[in-house]
């Protein structure tokens, strides 16, 4: 049994000369929480984009997921195969309520019927702690935290193998971040592999089992989180990145 669930092999994404992601390789072990850090503009979100194909795949390199090459698949197929991601910016379907959002995610991502989708909606909303009284409200009127909860819940509808979160803690209060922390641990405990991009280092350090640091599109350091953050190069990159 191969326990590398996701493999990124020499992946690059170039924008007209700008090497946003440049020859990145790493593997993700089934069941782990892998943290991804790096200064602003280091290519973290772009890395998520090219893995999930939303909105683009890699310029070169390979992405393997559960033994299959997925880097030329249409993005919706990658999602259906079990890679669920969230977005750094607020994302919602403004006209749809939480229930409607989860219904379509269950239908298209999970091939669930209405009844099964409803049951699963109850589960995932309970898991993320979304208030029942808010389920019938159009998403445009939800709070930032509620939108984030819903975005994670919608990703979980299809019981994905991997959940990829892009800075889920940004804009949240301290208690909300603590809830998020507990939620991610619970999701991981249920067997979901978690990839977590985060600027809030405390969250990364408290829950990730392994940490990758990107700098200028390349992997700068990789390994045990506590050790990685003491790495000279990492400290320089972070401080240098802030001063720019």
């Amino acid at each position: 049994m191969n326990d590398t669930i996701l493999e990124v092999v020499d992946a690059s994404k170039h924008f007209a000369g700008l090497k946003a992601v440049n020859g990145v390789s790493f593997g993700v072990t089934r069941g782990e929480i892998l943290g991804i850090a790096g200064p602003n503009g280091s290519g973290k979100s772009t890395l998520f984009n090219l893995i999930t194909g939303v909105p683009f795949g890699p310029t070169s390199g390979e992405i393997r997921f559960q033994g299959q090459r997925i880097d030329r698949w249409p993005a919706h197929r990658i999602a259906r195969a079990g890679l669920a991601r969230t977005f750094q910016k607020d994302a919602e379907f403004p006209d749809l309520t939480a229930d409607e959002t989860l219904l379509i995610c269950g239908t298209y991502n999970g091939q669930l019927g209405r009844v099964a989708a409803r049951t699963r909606s109850d589960e995932v909303l309970g898991l993320v702690g979304f208030a029942d009284t808010r389920r019938g409200i159009p998403s445009r009127n939800l709070s930032v935290y509620e939108k984030k909860q819903l975005m994670i819940a919608s990703g979980l509808m299809s019981r994905p193998a991997v959940l990829m979160l892009d800075e889920p803690a940004s804009g949240l209060t301290k208690p909300e971040i603590e809830n998020l922390d507990r939620l991610l641990v619970a999701v991981n405990a249920s067997g979901v592999t978690v990839l977590l991009i985060e600027h809030v280092l405390s969250l990364l350090l408290s829950i990730s089992q392994r940490l990758i640091v990107l700098n200028q599109g390349s992997v700068l350091a990789e390994g045990n989180p506590a050790e990685v953050v003491r790495n000279e190069a990492v400290i320089t990159a972070y401080l240098g990145g802030r001063k720019q």
Binding site: F93, T101, T107, Y108, G136, R140, G155
Partner: protein
């Protein structure tokens, strides 16, 4: 059942009694035309409003219906009762062809391509004069009959009810589509393409499907229109009809099924009333355009939104700015 659906039901009940009140052929004719516009507008709204596709080729589906029915009945001698449903098929096929390039394009390019398809159809109709009658069109199509009964009798009573039934079927179809997970996914694709894709929704497939679905009753309406008027002419692809129907969609409210239906009824009669005022024949289009701009400025959700403000219920409306029917 939502309040909007109840409103619709009430509307259809009233419309069913209209022929008892208006016994002359002329008023009934206006209603028949209004019903046809209502079908075109509300189906156009499915792609334009619900899915956000700037489809300016919707009249193509109507025109395809017109010429399918005209050619089948006049040239091939097919019974109109068979020719009208056949229009659903040909319109749907034309939608697949148009959707292929549109599925992956964005914004202004969609406008250009769909508009070009529409112009292409005009050229096709004009150039294939042997089949289509060219600029003169096809005239004196066979009457619609049941046994010995011709629908032209009793001051168009038969046509009135057939048009009303088609509008009812089309509306039921649209409500069903809009309420389904597919219908919800249209709004997801319209408002957050990347998020929708990341949740397993194929944007291209959604766009193709919605164009095909919006073509079905539009094609049937075209078939019925030509069988009713007994002529087919290239004007059906024209800019005039298109802008009138577009104003029905926009004034009615792009997020609902009910809005465009009501706007089609209102605008058909308003436009006809203005045409009756001497020297106003052309000015009426300006009036409609101004009305459209006013509605878009004051109530971007359209008439349906104004209606909802006037008749508040205990329940809070589903959306403050726009409301699905």
């Amino acid at each position: 059942m939502t309040r909007n659906n109840l409103l619709l039901l009430a509307l259809f009940v009233v419309l069913a009694f209209v022929p008892q009140i208006f016994t002359d052929g002329y008023v009934r004719h206006l209603f028949i035309i209004a019903f046809i516009y209502a079908i075109i507008a509300s189906n156009w709204n499915l792609s334009l409003g619900h899915c956000g596709i700037f489809n300016f080729g919707h009249m193509t589906f109507f025109g395809i219906g017109v010429y399918t029915a005209a050619i089948l009945t006049k040239t091939a001698g097919v019974n109109p009762w068979l020719a009208i449903p056949a229009c659903a098929v040909t319109a749907a096929i034309s939608a697949v062809i148009m959707a292929a390039p549109v599925a992956r394009l964005k914004g202004i390019y969609v406008v250009l391509v769909t508009f070009a398809v529409n112009q292409l159809m005009v050229q096709l109709v004009l150039s294939q004069a042997d089949l289509t009658g060219g600029a003169k069109g096809l005239v004196r199509l066979p009457f619609l009959t049941i046994g010995d009964y011709s629908f032209i009798r009793d001051y168009k009573l038969g046509y009135y009810y057939l048009a009303l039934i088609l509008l009812a079927l089309s509306t039921a179809f649209l409500i069903l589509v809009a309420g389904s997970p597919f219908g919800k996914s249209l709004k997801a694709v319209r408002d957050a393409e990347d998020y929708a894709t990341a949740r397993g929704i194929s944007v291209a497939r959604t766009r193709i499907s919605v164009l095909v679905l919006s073509a079905i009753f539009t094609g049937i309406a075209g078939g019925f229109y030509t069988v009713y008027l007994r002529v087919a002419s290239p004007e059906v692809f024209g800019f005039g009809t298109m802008s009138l129907v577009l104003s029905m969609v926009l004034i009615g409210g792009i997020n609902s099924v009910l809005g465009p239906v009501i706007a089609a009824l209102a605008l058909t009669f308003a436009s006809e009333a203005m045409a009756g005022i001497g020297g106003f024949e052309d000015a009426r289009y300006i009036v409609i355009a101004v009305a459209m701009i006013l509605v878009l400025r004051l109530a971007p959700g359209g008439l349906i939104q104004i209606l909802e403000r006037l008749a508040p219920t205990g329940q809070k409306p589903a959306t403050p700015t726009r409301s699905p029917a």
